[in-house]
Each structure stands twice: as structure tokens, then as C-alpha cells.
Amino acid sequence: MKIPIVYNLRSLKERPVSTLTTAAGMSLVVAVFVAMMALASGFRAALVKSGSPENALVLRKGANAEMYSGITRSTASTIAGMPFVARGADNGRELRPGASEILVGVKIIDRFANTGLGETLSFGGRDWTVVGHFAADGSAFESEIWAENEQVMPVFRGEVFQSVTFRMTDPSSFDGIKQTLEDDPRLYVDVFRENEFYENQSVILTQILNFIAIFIAGVMAIGAVFGAINTMYAAVSSRAPEIAVLLTLGFKPGHVRSSFLIESVLIALLGGVVGCVLTLPINGLVTSTTNLESLSEVAFAFRVTPSLLVNGLVFAAVMGLVGGFFPALRASRQPVIVTLREA
């Protein structure tokens, strides 16, 4: 028969200070782990959500970011004439043609001055009136300012578009479309599926952020595991007579071992739950950085997802298992006679 978990719960309640300090230490480790992962996942999500799989993005060959690309008017009109380009699918930008008007992404509004409705921004030697704010489901588009390209082009680059995006009549035939455009001798372009293009731009920074999260949380976890080992050893030695009685009553050493392991994991899970709760307030907090791969600012929100919280709990449980392993082993190997005589 196994030792019931109630036994562990009651033991934990017997020494609240020790249980709570150990759990609190672990909760901070879990909180840092989840918060850092939330940063990475928020950044990635902002870029992954940018763009639709139904759209194709065309850049000049070799240009791996919009910033670096240039597409001439003739190239653009050649592409526009291709049969697989869907027509009439503009997403209703409410700018009056020919006017110096702009739409501003919602992530920018609080971060920069003069971006409120009706205010004016000045660039390219002209004043531009903000006539609208737009949201784009938390994507990197929300860090952009949109204006009619016929208005902006002469100001910035002359007769060149940076990129051309079109909706495909049949998104499943993307590979064929890519082939056709890239092989066309009149054009000098690379073609990407829009969402994959933006996702690709998030690779380096996501990797760096994930690495930092794992490095910091890993080092902290080592410290927390040492603390857990201390706590569990102390628990085992102060309860030596109790364990001897359990063994005398006929509980197998294996049962004692798993019982102490469970106790250690319970402490860690308590810490894990508290740690996860601590990170909830940062969910949705907006921050920003500069994306290495496109050299442009991206504002994004911390994203504490359910799967990250589960990861945090698993992380806590592993700390508990590792921390409890040797103390549990010691408990199960308690020499019964000697211990009972001493008690």
C-alpha cells in the first residue's frame, strides 16, 4: 500500500516557514523563466501574425528586408498584370487620394508625440495629417505608419516601391507563382509568402531571447535546487523516527522514497503556481526593440500563454524532483532499529 498524500500535506503544514521559504524561492525562479519566455513569444507572435498566407510579398532579389528592397514602377505593373494576382482586394484604407494624410498604427500612438487624430507629423518636407489609427491584431504592422504610396514615393525614394504585395487568386499554387516570377527575365525579384517572410525575420532575436531565458532560469534553478535539497534533508533527518515507524509498519522503502519525492515536488509546485501567478500582470505589457533582421522598430506585448504557464509548472516539478531525489533515497535507506532505539 502506498503512503497517502495527506501524510505529505500534513507534514508540510507542520513546518510552514521552511515550506514557504523554499516554495517562495522557487516561485521567483519560475516567474523569471516564464517572464523571459513571454518576452520571446510576444516578439515572435508580433512578427508571425504580420502577413497572411494568402498574400505573396515581392522584393528585389537578394534584399532580405523591405528596408533594403526597391521595385520599379514597371516591375510592379508587370506583376500586377499577371493572371494569378487577385484584384479589388484593397483593405479599405480610408485616405483621400492625393491628400497628405496618414494612418498610424496603434502601438505607436503612446510612444511618439503628435500621432493623435487630427494632429500633424512633419517628414519629407511636408506636413501630414493623422486621419486614422489602425489595429492589426497585435502584429508588427501596428508599429507602422501608412500613407498613400503615390504621395510618399516622390518624397522618399523617387519612382521606386519598396515591396509589392498581392493577394493570390489561389494561395495553394504559391510555389508555381514563385517559380514564374523569379524565372521571368523582365523581373529581378524574390517572392515570399507574406506570413513566412515576417516569421523568418523573427528567428535571430527569438533565439537570443530564448537562450537568455534558459541561461538565466537555468542558473537560478541550480541555486533553488540546492535550497530544496537542504530543506528536504532537514525534513528527512528531523522525521527519522517517523520514517522508522513507517518502515516498521510495513511500508516498503520504495513507498517511503516516492512519498518524499512527492513531498518535494509538492513544495516545488506550490512555488510554480505562485510564480506563474506573479507573471500574469505582465501579460499584455507593451515594450519594443529593434529587429536585427529588418533594422526597424517593433513594438510588441509580453504574451503569457497557457502553454508557457504549463512549461513553468513542469520546470518547477523538475526542480522538485531533482532537489528531492537524494534526500528521498536517504529516507528509504533509514536503518530502522538504530533510529527507533535513539527515539
Partner: protein, 379 residues
């Protein structure tokens, strides 16, 4: 001090516990020292720019270039000794993820302006005299295993095509924070490669006297204010600082993590000290009976706690100092990344504070111990 031996024996009584506690403080202070070094290194990077050099760029953004005609107009300015310019190249070496900074520069004027880049005179001449020559930082050479005289091909992104360079000079920065991961080549080579279809990305101005900077900045930006390409001018130092803040609020992130680490370890250390205190109730009672004063007992327990955390702290801080000495592997990402002595001292101070805070409760308990009751429990 004659009680040092008593403290020592107490520490050795439960060796496993002492070692584990010391090690948990070690990893915490290792993390602290490493994280703080990220902040100090980034601060150093934003300090590295000169106050005597100005950067003039397009007011619209760094990715927009400025007309060649501005060169003469800037050079004619009072208090400006010399003018140079540079362009961001943004090429790819083999794989898109091998990111490093590449600049097309006007070699003569640029090198004259940057004595920070130290290189042998013959290499310098070789770089200056060959149109396709490249000047590469030592760290970048090591990162890709390049050697002097090697041919390198970069795939252009802003400027399409494959670009061939020959490494003719290797520079070492006189201050590590300047960075040794940069790649420079001749603007003329780029100019011919794109059939003259290019203008300077930004201008660099060397001032006669740094104190003239505010006046010169004001004069230049006002001169171009109503042109088709208005400018934004700032000191190089301010410009670099702007680049560092671009990555986001790293200082805050590091402080938040550092605080979490400190409290996590505080809880662990305090827990250990309290466990040790509980075990020793009876012997503390005996010590009191023998005539040990309350104050002495308090100091004994507190000292023991400080010895543990200071030992752990020293291991962590010096471990980090040794691992991240000069020219460590992180320098590829953060120029001049190194654990400073100020970090070492701060870390040791934190370890001491950790010892005091975690030892204070058990020390107080030992002092307040009612002797009779404690001894009765022993019997």
C-alpha cells in the same frame, strides 16, 4: 576573533548543508556579476563616441541618404576641421544569420578621423591603395577564421549582386568598447559597382573644439531645414547612445531579474540558517549557561551566516570575472563585455548584506533563548 574556531567547527558540522548553501549563493552572485556586466558594457558602448565628432544624417531616418553636395557645405562650416562620410552596406556573408556591420567609407578622411582603430602602417597603406581592399576588426577575423589577403564575397541586399573584397588590413580598437567586429571598404568601389547610383548615408564631422558642438549642430540643421533633405546632427556620443537605447530598456530588465535572483537566494540562505538555528537550541543554551553573553551569541550566529554567503559570493563573482576576462566569447555580441572591479566589489557587498539579512532572525532567536526551558527540553 578567538571564536573563529567555534564558527569554523559549526560550519563543518553539516558539511553538505554548508556546501549547498555556499553553492547556491555562488550561482546567484555569478548571475548577478554577469548580468551587471551586460549593463556596464552597454553603458561603455554608449560612452565610447567622441564629443569632438558630429554625425549628420537625414532627419527622416538613418536609412535615408544625403546629397553629395552637402560635403562641401559641411566642410565650409566654421569650427569643422574635416568631414567624412559612410554608408551602411548590409551584405550577407554566406548565410543571412552571420550578421555583422559593414560600412562603405571614404578611406583617407575616415581613417584620419578615427585614431581609435589601430593597425600596422603597411597594412593601412595597402588598404588605402587598393580599390577592393577591406579593413576588418580583429574579432571578426577570428569569428570567421579569416586571414590577411583572403578574398571575401558579400551578397548585397541594398546593393544587389555579389561583391568581392580582399582583406588588406586588420584593426585593433584602442578601447574594447569601440568594437572589433566591423568591416570597412572603399566608397568608390561601391560607387562604381552601382554606376554612380548612390549618395552618402551620413556625414561625420571632426570639430576643432568640442565646446563648439551645440553651436555647430544648430547651424547645420538650420542651414538644411528647408531643403529637400533636412538633416539631424548630434554628437557621436549621443548618436551611439541612441543606438543602445534602441534595443529597449535593458537596464530595467537586468535590474528586475537581479532583484528576483537576490530575493530567491535570500530565501534559500535564510531558510538554511533557520534550520541550523533550530538544531542548535540546546547547545546555545549550554553556551549561555557557561557564561556566554547574549551579544556574543548574536554575533557568533551572524558571523557564521556572513562567512557562508561571503564565501559563496566570492566564488561566484570571481568565477564570473575569470570566465569573462578580456577578449571573451561574448565580445562578438557586446563589444568590451567584461566583469569590472566595481561589479566585483558590489557583488561582495551584496553577499555580505545577504548574510546579515538571512542570519538576523536565527541570531536574534539565539540571543533571546530562555535557558531553563531550552535545557529542560534536552533533558
Amino acid at each position: 576573533m578567538k571564536f573563529m574556531r567555534l564558527i569554523w567547527v559549526n560550519l563543518l558540522r553539516n558539511k553538505r548543508r554548508t556546501v549547498l548553501t555556499v553553492l547556491s549563493v555562488t550561482v546567484a552572485l555569478f548571475l548577478f556579476a554577469t548580468l551587471r556586466s551586460v549593463v556596464t558594457a552597454l553603458d561603455a558602448v554608449s560612452e565610447v563616441g567622441s564629443e569632438a565628432r558630429l554625425i549628420t544624417r537625414s532627419a527622416t531616418g538613418i536609412t535615408f541618404a544625403l546629397p553629395q553636395s552637402y560635403f562641401e557645405r559641411l566642410r565650409a562650416q566654421e569650427d569643422v576641421r574635416s568631414v567624412s562620410w559612410a554608408n551602411w552596406f548590409g551584405g550577407i556573408y554566406v548565410d543571412q544569420h552571420n550578421f555583422f556591420a559593414q560600412f562603405a567609407i571614404d578611406p583617407q578622411t575616415y581613417l584620419a578621423m578615427y585614431p581609435e582603430m589601430v593597425m600596422p602602417e603597411d597594412q593601412k597603406q595597402a588598404f588605402l591603395s587598393e580599390r577592393t581592399a577591406a579593413l576588418v576588426g580583429r574579432g571578426l577575423m577570428e569569428r570567421f577564421g579569416w586571414s590577411l589577403g583572403q578574398n571575401i564575397t558579400l551578397q548585397g541586399t541594398i546593393f544587389p549582386g555579389d561583391w568581392e573584397f580582399t582583406i588588406r588590413a586588420v584593426y585593433v580598437p584602442d578601447d574594447p568598447s569601440f568594437g572589433d567586429q566591423m568591416f570597412f571598404f572603399h566608397y568608390d568601389y561601391l560607387y562604381e559597382g552601382v554606376n554612380g547610383n548612390i549618395i552618402p548615408g551620413w556625414y561625420i564631422l571632426q570639430l576643432e573644439d568640442p565646446t563648439a558642438a551645440p553651436a555647430v549642430i544648430d547651424r547645420i540643421d538650420r542651414m538644411f531645414e528647408n531643403s529637400s533633405r533636412p538633416t539631424k546632427t548630434e554628437t557621436e556620443k549621443a548618436f551611439n547612445a541612441g543606438f543602445v537605447t534602441m534595443w529597449g530598456n535593458i537596464g530595467f530588465l537586468v535590474k528586475a531579474i537581479g532583484t528576483a535572483v537576490f530575493f530567491a537566494i535570500l530565501l534559500i540562505a535564510a531558510n538554511t540558517m533557520m534550520m541550523a538555528g533550530r538544531e542548535r537550541i540546546s547547545e546555545n543554551a549550554v553556551l549561555k549557561t557557561l557564561g556566554f553573553q547574549d551579544g556574543l551569541l548574536f554575533r557568533l550566529v551572524l558571523t557564521e551566516s556572513i562567512v557562508i554567503t561571503l564565501l559563496g559570493g566570492a566564488l561566484g563573482v570571481f568565477g564570473s570575472k575569470i570566465l569573462f576576462g578580456p577578449n571573451n566569447f561574448v565580445n562578438a555580441f557586446i563589444p568590451g563585455f567584461e566583469v569590472e572591479w566595481s561589479t566585483v566589489i558590489l557583488g561582495l557587498a551584496m553577499a555580505t548584506a545577504l548574510g546579515i539579512v538571512s542570519g538576523i532572525v536565527p541570531a536574534w532567536q539565539a540571543m533571546q533563548l530562555p535557558v531553563i526551558q531550552a535545557l529542560r527540553r534536552v533533558a
